[in-house]
C-alpha cells in the first residue's frame, strides 16, 4: 500500500517542486490554538510534523525550546497530542502527520501502547531524536508492523558504511540534518555542499524520499529546492513567539509565513 507520506512526495514531484514539511509543537501555545495552526498551515504544507514537547530537549535550539516550554507550561500531555492528531485527521484525512520527540516520553507511556495509539489516531510517521541506529532497529520494526513510517536521521557525521546500513533499514523517508547544529541554527554550510551530501544519500537508493532540515528559513529555502522535501521548524516557532509578544493572531501570522515559504519553492 502506498503510504500517505509517499503520496505527498509524489504529488509534489508532479508539480516539480520539493515537498514542504512544517514542524510545530503540539500545545503551543494552547491545545486549541495548536490544532488551529496545524489545520491552517496544512493548506500549504505537504507533511505536518508535530512535536510532542519534552522539557530537556538536548538537540533543540532556543526557538523550539521556547515553544516546548510554553506548551508544557500550558498543560499539554501526551494524550492531548493524540487527540490533536485525531481531530486534525477528521478534516484532513489525506494529510500525513509525523510525530516527533524524545524517547523518554515514549518509554514512560509504554512503547507498544504508544505505537498502538499512534496507529489508532492515524499518525503516519515517527521521528525519535535520541533513538539512533542501530538501537532503533526493534522500535522501527514495531512501527512497520503497525503501518507507521519510522524516519531515520542522517547527519554530516554519518560514515558511509553507517549510511548504507541506515538506508537499508529505513522506510519511505529519510531526514538529512544539513549541518552540525541544534535546530534553528544559522545555515553555516553552503547549499551546494549540502546538496552534494544529499546526493550521496539519494544515490544509495533513489526510491527513498530524502528531506533536508535544520537552518532552513525564507532566505535559504530556495537554494535547496532540488531536494525531495524541506523541513521548516524554528522559523515557525519563532513566529508564534513573536505573534504572542505583539498580541497578534498566531494562526494568521504563522500561515502567512508558511505560504511565503511555499511560494519560494514553487
Amino acid at each position: 500500500m502506498n503510504s500517505l507520506i509517499n503520496q505527498a512526495f509524489q504529488n509534489a514531484k508532479k508539480e516539480n517542486r520539493p515537498a514542504l514539511l512544517t514542524y510545530t509543537v503540539a500545545g503551543d501555545n494552547t491545545k486549541k490554538k495548536s490544532l488551529e495552526i496545524l489545520k491552517s498551515i496544512s493548506n500549504y504544507s505537504d507533511i505536518c510534523e508535530l512535536g510532542f514537547p519534552h522539557n530537556t530537549p538536548i538537540a533543540d535550539g532556543g526557538q523550539i525550546q521556547t515553544s516546548a516550554y510554553r506548551a508544557i507550561k500550558n498543560g499539554i500531555k501526551i494524550n492531548d497530542v493524540f487527540s490533536i492528531v485525531k481531530n486534525f485527521k477528521k478534516s484532513k484525512k489525506t494529510k500525513p502527520v509525523i510525530l516527533m520527540g524524545y524517547y523518554n516520553m515514549i518509554f514512560q507511556y509504554n512503547e507498544n501502547k504508544f505505537l498502538d495509539k499512534c496507529k489508532n489516531v492515524k499518525v503516519d510517521g515517527l521521528i525519535v531524536v535520541d533513538l539512533p541506529y542501530p538501537e532503533n532497529k526493534k522500535f522501527a520494526s514495531k512501527c512497520k508492523k503497525r503501518g507507521l513510517n519510522f524516519i531515520q536521521l542522517v547527519s554530516p557525521t554519518t560514515s558511509s558504511l553507517r549510511l548504507k546500513n541506515i538506508i537499508k533499514d529505513s522506510h519511505d523517508m529519510i531526514y538529512y540534518i544539513s549541518m552540525l547544529s541544534t535546530t534553528g541554527g544559522k545555515l553555516k554550510v553552503s547549499p551546494k555542499k549540502i546538496l552534494k551530501e544529499y546526493k550521496k544519500i539519494k544515490d544509495q537508493n533513489k526510491s527513498k524520499n530524502v528531506v533536508i532540515g535544520f537552518g532552513i528559513t525564507e532566505k535559504t529555502i530556495k537554494s535547496l529546492k532540488k531536494a525531495d522535501g524541506l523541513v521548516v521548524g524554528s522559523v515557525i516557532c519563532k513566529e508564534i513567539t513573536n505573534s504572542i509578544k505583539k498580541r497578534q493572531n498566531t494562526v494568521i501570522n504563522v500561515t502567512n509565513i508558511v505560504r511565503k515559504l511555499k511560494n519560494e519553492i514553487k
Binding site: 522539557n55 530537556t56 538536548i58 525550546q65 516520553m105 535520541d130 539512533p132 557525521t157 552540525l180 541554527g185
Partner: protein, 408 residues
C-alpha cells in the same frame, strides 16, 4: 542481573552500552554517534597504551598530588562513641575536589585526539573549575556551561574558572541548574563536535563518558586499598564506605576496588540529596524509588513525572542537585551490592557543623551528606567497625551558603 568478579564495573556493560541490560546506553542524536564512536575507540586504545598510562600517573602524582591522606577522626569517633570514623581526604587533591581526576584525564584525551577546545558542564562549579585548571595546564581553550542559579550560589568557583581563562556560559533555561547546564553543553557539542572535545563532569551521560569518568576517579580506591593494608595490615573485617551520590563519580571512584568484596565485609553506602526537610523536591532518585527514565543520553533511575518530563530538583548542595544518577549506581542498587539512602539539607548542614567543630576538616556540603549518614549510624556500631567517609570536596566554595544558613 548479576555483578561479575574480576572485571571493572565500568566494563560490565553489553554491546549497546547497557549495564544490567537496562541502565546506560547511548540515547544520542545521530550527529553525536560518530564523535562518541571516535572517543570510544580512542579511549579503548589509550587505556592500554603504556605511554599514556605513564603520563596519567605522572600528572596524578605531580599535578593532582596523589595520594590524598587517609586519617582517623578521633574526636568525632570519641564524641559519637561507636564505630571508628575515618576520612579519605580527597579534597586535598589539587583544586579541592575529586573532579580533578576526570578533568585531567579528559584534557589528556583531548590532546591525544588533536583537539584544541574542551567544553564541560558544572553544578557546584568543581567540575568546571578543575576542567579550567586542566585546560590551562595543557594549553586548551575551555568553555564551561553552568546554570545561572549555580553561578550565583557558587561564586568562589566561578572566580577561579575565570582566572584560569575559561569562558563561563550561563544557562538560563529550565531550572537554571546542573541539568540544564549538561543539556546546553551537549547542544554545544552537537554543533561543534568537529573541533571540540566534551567532558561530562560525572559518571553520567552516554556510555563512554561514564567509563572515562569512572576510570579516572578509580584512583581514589586504589590508594585507599593500599592505605587500609598499611594501616591495619590487611583489609579489616567490618568496613563501611560512605559516599555522597549526585551523578556518582566520587562514589564509584571510592568503591571500585572494593566491589568484588563480600558486602558483609565491605558495605557500600551511597547518600543522596534529600533536599529541604519540608520540601517535596529532592535529588534522590535511587533512595526514593524513582522510575527508570532517559536523561542526557542514558537510562537511569530518574526524578520525573508520569509523562516523562524531568522534575525540578532541590538541594542545598549544587553538586548533588541532579535528577538522574549514574547507570552504574543503578546497577549496584539493583544487584543489592550497594545501599542507597539520603540526607536532608538540614542533616547535611548539621553534619558539616559537627565535623568542623571536632576535626580539622572542612567538608563541602556534598560530602557532608555522607558524614550525616556516618553520624547517624556510628553510635549503633561496634568499635571494630571502620566507617570511612570520602571527604571529596572542600567547603571553601560554600562560603556564601554557610554564612547565610549558619550565620558564620
Amino acid at each position: 542481573m548479576k555483578l561479575k568478579k574480576g572485571i571493572p564495573l565500568i566494563d560490565q556493560h553489553d554491546q549497546h552500552g547497557f549495564w544490567g541490560g537496562k541502565f546506560g546506553g547511548n540515547f544520542i542524536p545521530e550527529t553525536l554517534k560518530k564523535p562518541v564512536e571516535d572517543l570510544t575507540n580512542k579511549f579503548r586504545k589509550l587505556r592500554k597504551d603504556k605511554r599514556f598510562l605513564k603520563k596519567r600517573d605522572f600528572y596524578f602524582k605531580n599535578y593532582i598530588g596523589t595520594p590524598t591522606s587517609f586519617v582517623k577522626l578521633d574526636n568525632l569517633t570519641n564524641h559519637l562513641g561507636g564505630a571508628q570514623i575515618w576520612a579519605k581526604v580527597v579534597s586535598e587533591a589539587n583544586g579541592g575536589a575529586h573532579k580533578i581526576y576526570n578533568a585531567t584525564v579528559h584534557a589528556l584525551i583531548c590532546k591525544a585526539m588533536g583537539k584544541k577546545y574542551i567544553i564541560g558542564d558544572t553544578g557546584a562549579g568543581y567540575a568546571g573549575k578543575m576542567l579550567s585548571m586542566a585546560a590551562k595546564k595543557f594549553g586548551l581553550k575551555c568553555k564551561i556551561f553552568m546554570g545561572a542559579k549555580d553561578i550565583k550560589r557558587q561564586k568562589p568557583n566561578c572566580d577561579a574558572m575565570r582566572k584560569n581563562g575559561a569562558e563561563i556560559v550561563p544557562v538560563y533555561s529550565g531550572s537554571q541548574t546542573l541539568v540544564d547546564a549538561v543539556s546546553e553543553c551537549m547542544r554545544y557539542w552537537v554543533s561543534n563536535c568537529d573541533n571540540a572535545h566534551m567532558c561530562v563532569g560525572s559518571t553520567v551521560g552516554p556510555n563512554i563518558f561514564v567509563k572515562i569518568c569512572g576510570w579516572s576517579t578509580a584512583q581514589i580506591s586504589r590508594e585507599l586499598k593500599i592505605q587500609l593494608v598499611s594501616q591495619f595490615k590487611k583489609i579489616p573485617k567490618k568496613v563501611k564506605l560512605i559516599n555522597c551520590v549526585g551523578g556518582g563519580s566520587s562514589a564509584y571512584g571510592f568503591w571500585s576496588e572494593f566491589i568484588d568484596y563480600d558486602k558483609r565485609q565491605i558495605e557500600l553506602i551511597g547518600v543522596e540529596a534529600g533536599g529541604p526537610k519540608n520540601s517535596k523536591l529532592h535529588a534522590a532518585p535511587l533512595s526514593r524509588n524513582a522510575k527508570i527514565g532517559i536523561l542526557h543520553g542514558a537510562a537511569s533511575y530518574l526524578c520525573q513525572n508520569s509523562e516523562g518530563q524531568i522534575n525540578d530538583t532541590e538541594s542545598i548542595s549544587a553538586g548533588l542537585d541532579y535528577p538522574g544518577v549514574s547507570p552504574i549506581h543503578c546497577f549496584l542498587k539493583d544487584t543489592k551490592r550497594a545501599r542507597y539512602t539520603y540526607a536532608t539539607d538540614e542533616e547535611a548542614l548539621n553534619a558539616h557543623v559537627m565535623v568542623t567543630k571536632y576535626e580539622n576538616l572542612n567538608p563541602s556540603l556534598e560530602p557532608s551528606h555522607a558524614f550525616a549518614e556516618a553520624i547517624k549510624i556510628a553510635p549503633k556500631l561496634s568499635k571494630d567497625t571502620i566507617i570511612i567517609c570520602n571527604s571529596c570536596g572542600d567547603a571553601t566554595k560554600d562560603r556564601d551558603i554557610l554564612r547565610e544558613r549558619l550565620g558564620k
